[in-house]
Amino acid sequence: MKSVRIAGGLGFYGDSWRPIKASIERGNVQYVASDHLAELTLAILQKDRQRDPNLGYTRDLVPMLAELLPIAIPRGVKFVLNAGGLNPMAAREMLLGALKKFGLKLKVGVVLGDSVQERLDELQAAGVSLAHMDTGEDISTVRDRLVFASAYLGARPLVEALDAGADIVLTGRVADAALFLAPMVHELGWRWDEWDKLAQGIVVGHLLECSGQAVGGNFGGDWRSMPDLAHIGYPIAEVWEDGDAVISKAPGTGGRVNFDTLREQLLYEVHDPRHYMTPDVVVDMTTLRMEEFGPDQVRVTGATGRPAPDMLKIVAGYEDGVMGQAMIGYAWPDALAKARAAAQIIQQQMVEIGLKSEETVIEYLGYNSIHGPLADPAHIDDLNEVYLRIAVRCADKKEAAKLGRLFPPLALSGPPFIGGAGGMMEPRGLLGIWLTLAPRALIEEYVRVSVEAT
């Protein structure tokens, strides 16, 4: 029976591509599928594009491929990446330029049509409400502040690009697991109505789309038992025609692939595991089985699927104020009491200088900055050090920056024994995320695939 071997690439923009080398060199893979876009990433790319309309793709694309192509090309390994971000065309332009410079002969496919920012009026005219899918709120509340809006596309246009001979496929926003499903459909000849096979493909994609998280990274179990995380092996999947799959990793790499590490990734961010919605199939994970049959070898079978939904999810970002923040550290004895006293000083001064903040968050790093009200107060009188952190939500950068300037004077006029810079951190633009749905026909009629050779 035919099978295809796919390596997991990045899990997000900023993730390391070094572990992909081991998968290529020792993992005998035919594809690398790489996810460069978290929900948050389009916010970062949108800022790039605002500065320069030729940007908007993830800038790890060329550095990453520059390092991986020399070992990938002789092995015939192909790449599927959503590094196109908000500007897949510009990403391809740039990549083709770089490939030509290196004298490489490759075909680069691009998938367009996920961006709907310019088409929102048209969609509403066609009867799409664009209301927030969780709260039901009307989009008019944020419409004039929108900075991007993209639909999650499925695997079909990516398969089209692969069918047309692309060695590298660049996309914008697609369902992350679709990056992995595409090579499976292309190689194994699955039909778009073979729901159970597609479900298996999506499960495999979901297991591989967060890099180290399937292999003992961010592992909530016995994390100490995960060997050599410095050289963690990203997951590799082999998938057969009938949909069965084995998850493993390259020999000689760190981390572990076992029932425990995989089940943590299986359920990660899927909401309802019985109805995991993707553009290509609705997956039921409760029917599947995962069995270890060797060191770092887990067989995954039995996921079931139901027909693809009529609606596609759209993610949009809107400007939602600016965060000002600052930090200062205090040492034992009475570190927390001092930090609290400093917080009181700052709060009074915020009022007196007229700092307009819609929301203020006060945290004590070392005590409650992560668990908040659930932090255990058992040893708070004895902590070695506590950092006060204050964050404010303001209408603009000018207002947000006022907070940071209140901190340095604490060094000479506040509670004693500061350590850690009285930090004035750059104000940061805040982005709200708007999730909504639209009928897939209205989105897919604008999807285009084009393949260009160097």
Binding site: E39, F219, V361, P373, A391
Partner: protein, 103 residues
Amino acid sequence: MKKQLVELAHARSGDKGDKADLSLFAPDQETYALLAREVTAERVRAHFAGIMTGEVERFEVPNVLALKFVLHGALNGGASRSLRSDALGKSLSSALLRMEIEV
């Protein structure tokens, strides 16, 4: 007798919009049955009352001995909008493990 979940199970959390998505994993069938009985959506809601504004949905995944909890309105509006240090809610998993249940 009361026990903290940290002694019984492990967990992971992630984010989707303003929702925290938590998974709780049992080491064996017996513990799974205990967790399924005691770690109810209402109790999880009460546990996280200080940080969330919405409701808790619970899902059972017996084939991998796990429970899932989706916490609505738990991320101060969502990671890219949140003022919190743990904007992504990646440590809400460990916060869940502080919960005590009757064993």
